[in-house]
Structure formats: C-alpha cells, structure tokens
Subunit: 139 residues, 6 copies
C-alpha cells in the first residue's frame, strides 16, 4: 500500500460566528476571527489517498485525475470566494478549519473511490502556525 | 551601511474593484479578484530599513522597536480586517498589492526615521507566486 | 475525530554530553554537538491534539488556549535559554531532540486534557534536515 | 517509542514510460512525464525510523549513521543520475515516485535494523505539489 | 515606481558540458553535473518587472498577462523538457543557470515592454542552495 | 553581469551583551538576547557574488569553489560554536547579526576576488522574521 499527497491552494474570505449570537458574543468566543466584515486566508489543501500500486503504470492513480477531482469538487467552489456565503458544501456549517476539512472529505471521498483509491487524509493549512487533519469518520 | 529586514504577517479580506464600474466591468478587468463578496489572503510583509551600525549596541536599530512600529502603524489596522472597508490608510485607494505596499510605506517612513534609520523597501507577498516591492518615491 | 496542529518556535542553546564522561568521550559519541561552550538552534515545535469537533463552536478546542498552554508550559521556559542549565523539565536528562520531545509531552498532556482534547503528537524540528516525533508512552 | 526523520536530497533525470509501448501510447498515459528526452526533479527524501530511546545517549540512533546509510545506499546511486538508465535498484521498474519510494524502502530496511531501529516511512517529495509515502509491505 | 515579481516553475533535464571536450574533461570542469545521461531539477523562476502604478487599476500590469507571457515564451518550451536538446533559446549555449537566466531575459524583455512595464530581474533557483540573478545587459 | 547566490547554514550559540555593563544593563538594552547562559540559532547565510559569465564554462565561477571558500573561511569557524567565545573574527565585536554579517564580508571579500568575481552581498537570516544584508563599505 502506498500513500500519495496532492497539494492544491485557494484564497478565500471567511468569518467565525453563530448567526443566533450577538457580535459581542461572537467576539468573546471567536475573537478577531468573528469580524463581521470578514477576513481571509491563503489556504493550502493537502489531500492524501492510499491504495495499491498498479503494476502497469507504476501509479496508485494518475495525479492529474486526482488534481482534477479536487479542483472540480473543491477549488472551483472556494477559490476567491466567501466561504460563509458562497460555498454550497459549507451552508449551515460554522466555517472553522475543522468543519472545512470535514466538508472537503465529504466532497472527495466518493470521487477518490472511483479513481481506484481510498481517501486517507484531508489536511488544511490555514496559516503557517495552524492546520487541521481529518482522517474520516471511522478514524 | 547595513540593511535589516523584519517580517510581520496579517490575514485580511479584500476585493479589487472600482465603485463607479459595474460588477461586469470589474470582473472583466480584475477577474475573480473582484468578487463582490470578498476573498482574502495571508499577507507576508517584509520591511527593510538601512543605516549605520551603532557601535555601542552593534545594532542598526532595536528590532523590537521596528516590530512595534510595524504592528502599531500597520498590523493592528489590517490584521483580520477587510482592507476595503476598515483600513484608514486604504480609504479611497484601489486595494491592489501595489497600492497596499505604497500605503504601508507612507505609514512607516516617518517612524523609521525616528528610530534612527531609513526605510528602504516594503515588500508585500500576497501568495507564494505574487509579490510587490516598493522602494519609495525617488527610486 | 479531528487533529489540530499548532506551531510554536523557540531559540535555545544546548549541548549533548554526559557529565561523567570526559570531553574526549563526549566528542567521540556526540561529535561537534558536544562542544563544551554550547551551540544552539531555532527549534520549531508542532503540537498535534485530537478529539471531537464541538458543534457549537466548530472547534476541537480554541487554538488560542492551546497556544497559551504551550507558551506557559514550554516556550517561556526554553526560549532564549540554555536547555541544559536553565530548564526545569530537562534537569537530569540528556538534552537530545528525542528527550526534549518526550519531556514536552509530559509538560503538555495534562493541560491538553483539561482543554477537552487529547495530546496526539509532539514534533520537534531541530534543523531542516532533522526532526523527531513523540506519540506518547502507549504508541 | 520515538520517531526520527532525516531529510536528504538528490537531483535526477527520469522518464515515465513502458518500453513495450509506443511513444504515443506512453504520451497518452503518462503525459509530458513520458518525454523520451527526459526531464528531472530536485527530489526531497524524508526517511523516518522508530524505536526506543537509548538512555545512555538520549538517541534512538545516531543521526550521522542514518545519514551515512541513506547516502551510501540511495543518494550516491541516484544523485545527478538518470533514474531509468543508471540506478541498479530501479532496473526493470517503472520510474514513478511510488516505485522509487518502495525501492528506497528495500535499500534501507535492513540497514536501519542494523542501526538498532525500525524503518517506519519513506517519503519522497517530487515537487511542492506531489509526494508519496511508503510504510512498508505490512502497512 | 513599483516592482512586481511573478513566480513560475518548471521541471527539466540538463547537462553541463562542452561538445568538443571529452567526457573526462567535462567531468573535471563540471563534475557530476556533466553526467552524459543527464540529471534534472525543479527550477523556480522569479520574474521581476518595474514601472508606474496605473491609477485606474491600481496595477503596474495585470499579473495574469505577465504569467501568460512567461508561460508562452518560457515555461511551455522548458517544462518537462531536456534543456540541452529541446529548447530553441538554449541552442548553442552551455546550459548553466547563468546562461538560462540570460536567455530567459532575452525571451521576456520585449514582451514585458509591450505590457507597459520594464523587465528588472530574472532570478532562477536551481536548488535551495544555488540561484542566479540577471539584471540585463546594462546593469 | 550576473549575480550568483550560494546558501550555507550553521548552528551556533551567542549572547548580546557588553562586558563592561552589568547583567541588568545588558538585559535592559538587549532583552532576553543577553541571557548570560547563552541561546542559539540555526543561521542561514546567503553569499551573493557578481561578475561576467565565462564563455568557456557558462559560469561566473564554479559554485563548488565558492562553497569551499565559505566553508573554510566561515562555516568551519562558526558551526556548532559559541560565536562570542570561539570565533576569531568576532573577537572584540558585539555579536549582533549586523556585526556577524560585516565580519563575514571581511572573511570572504578577498577570496571571492581570487575566484574571479566580486562579493556583492552577505545576507544572514537569524530567524524566519529577522535578517540582515551587508553590501560592503562603499554601498
């Protein structure tokens, strides 16, 4: 079994807040990340898949296909977007890195299977100091 | 003469657009960077100052003072902010990297002089692929 | 379950040696790292914790709290310090990266639990070529 | 148990192709990576080993020995080489990152054992966007 | 005046050698970089241009246009190629980083002018330890 | 004219202080960098030289020769050393980054000339946030 990781990037605006809370409450829990006028990040997304090496190609899968899948299902929806207002798969979810990573897992798991591999990890790097990893629901 | 560079970072939302243009016109010129619902970046700011080494301290200036100046005049105003809506020194300016860098120069030049050095360069890194450098008005 | 990683940094002096050995013996085993007059590093510390996402906040835990814990229990004790002479949690231990990582685990495990998560990994990067990871005593 | 990772680097030429296929077939499957006149990479190799800390030295193993092993068994054979034509351990194998990583595992596993540790992971970074990890045959 | 830098990347094979010299002579002068079977690199290319900020757009120039120019004139010719055998603008030139950088300057200078800016610097990073900068023929 | 930059690294201990001052005075001016028990850094050293490309080799100079010069004159003297106590070229100088960079210039300028090039810049990176550049005495 081999693991392959593909990095893609996107730049987006977001805000941490609960609609039913006041700005003050949001500020208390989420700090400056709750700024009602938004802030943003250069997100780095590392998608790791696993499976057996195909002896004919020497590949687990064709990285171009994986890149295409990530772009179609994730990057095109989030790049240069407002993650709270414009991204279907974040509707109704608090836009924390934890939730973004889990939602990206949901976007990709089925497509990775169709490419003949298994999704292993979605890693989302928000800043050089902060990152999250999601290994799926049975991990 | 010696050059010293201090790096600071900030995360912010912004949008490239001209108010008097339609969204379509803005989209044509600025592409996805004109998204009316904003996007954002992890900006890296490199401030380079120059001058003579003080023989008593071995310093051009105390980097803590330079860091403090950058934080007071720039980072506190832009970090986790919307650069179009919330930053006094960007009011009325198109929020391009070029203009941000020039505006940061204006914020810092006087303060650097008071620290006994001369501002040499403001470098702003918007993404790993794009950056700008401003060397002042006589360069 | 989600994993979150926080990076903190510290700059410190240290030396690899056994007190009961001569400088020659130490040099033979530890090489130039045993220099009696010390050397030092910019250490990068990556602390990974795991647990369930809190549906109210979208967080595993508040990264500010994790950062504060790491700073109080580790960074304040080691930053700009001599790891052999000045750090309580390294007293009596050989100051190798392996032992530093294990000792940092001991400093953090209880506090992470109080924040509602579980310590998963302490990764210490000594140079761009050398790093260690400690996953706890049952790993 | 502790994990230690050593990074080494090499620059090499390679080509993805099957000898029994035409250039057109190779182009279809492997894209521009099948260029008959070769292309190349700066490869980064991260070798992770695991084991118990030796209480006498504070080491899992001496990183100099690990570095020497990697250089003798891998780097000297691949650095500034053509991976398809000049590397004994890639003879008869398709020169994909997956296969290179697995072959490097075979080169190192026994030697790591002799150093008193166990090989845990071979990670090969081909570009800033693409990397593979091999954890051995029972993983 | 403002400076803008765009990074692009390419992966290529090359060899340092003089055709009229024997392999031994080439080995003596160029070392392992003269390997007749080629080696390769992940090259990073930083193109810096300078000029005045357009008050209407806040841009020196549109970075998409600069990126397009670099891709058309350079990246498409060199990416996944053999720099000695397949690149028109390197024909008859020794394929050193110095010469590649100067040749890329020749490819780009006119096009940058047509975009309304002036080419300032071509920086080529061959490895994390080695890079060259070419500032044009009058520098 | 072309510029070439070579990176080398060293790990060292140091302390900012004036012998004739008390620890309290030193603490006031130099902060935690004055710790009498030392601290340390992973220093990155970027040496830039300039000159004409040799048409026979395509080189400004052979980077191996430049690397060798830097290692002999600088790295061997400072790596895994105490910069205050063990480095001849820092004797009697305050061990600030500014002074280290200038002293390294003095170590290298003559040797670079003998290699047929001219020393252009010594850049010393102390941390990811702090660096200095020295361009010589006439800059």
């Amino acid at each position: 079994m081999i693991h392959i990781t593909r990095r893609e990037r996107f730049n987006a605006a977001h805000r941490l807040f609960r609609e039913e809370w006041s700005d003050e409450q949001n500020l208390e829990v989420f700090g400056k990340c709750s700024n009602p006028k938004w802030h943003g990040h250069n997100y780095e997304l590392f998608v790791t898949v696993k499976g057996e090496i195909d002896p004919e190609t020497g590949f687990l899968l064709n990285l171009k296909d994986l890149s295409l899948l990530i772009r179609e299902r994730v990057i095109e929806k989030v790049d240069h977007r407002n993650l709270n207002l414009e991204v279907d798969f974040m509707k109704g979810r608090l836009v924390s890195s934890e939730n973004i990573a889990a939602a990206i897992w949901d976007e990709l798991a089925e497509g990775v299977r169709k490419l003949g591999a298994e999704l292993h990890c979605v890693r989302l790097v928000e800043t050089e100091n902060n990152s999250v990893e999601f290994y799926g629901y049975n991990s």
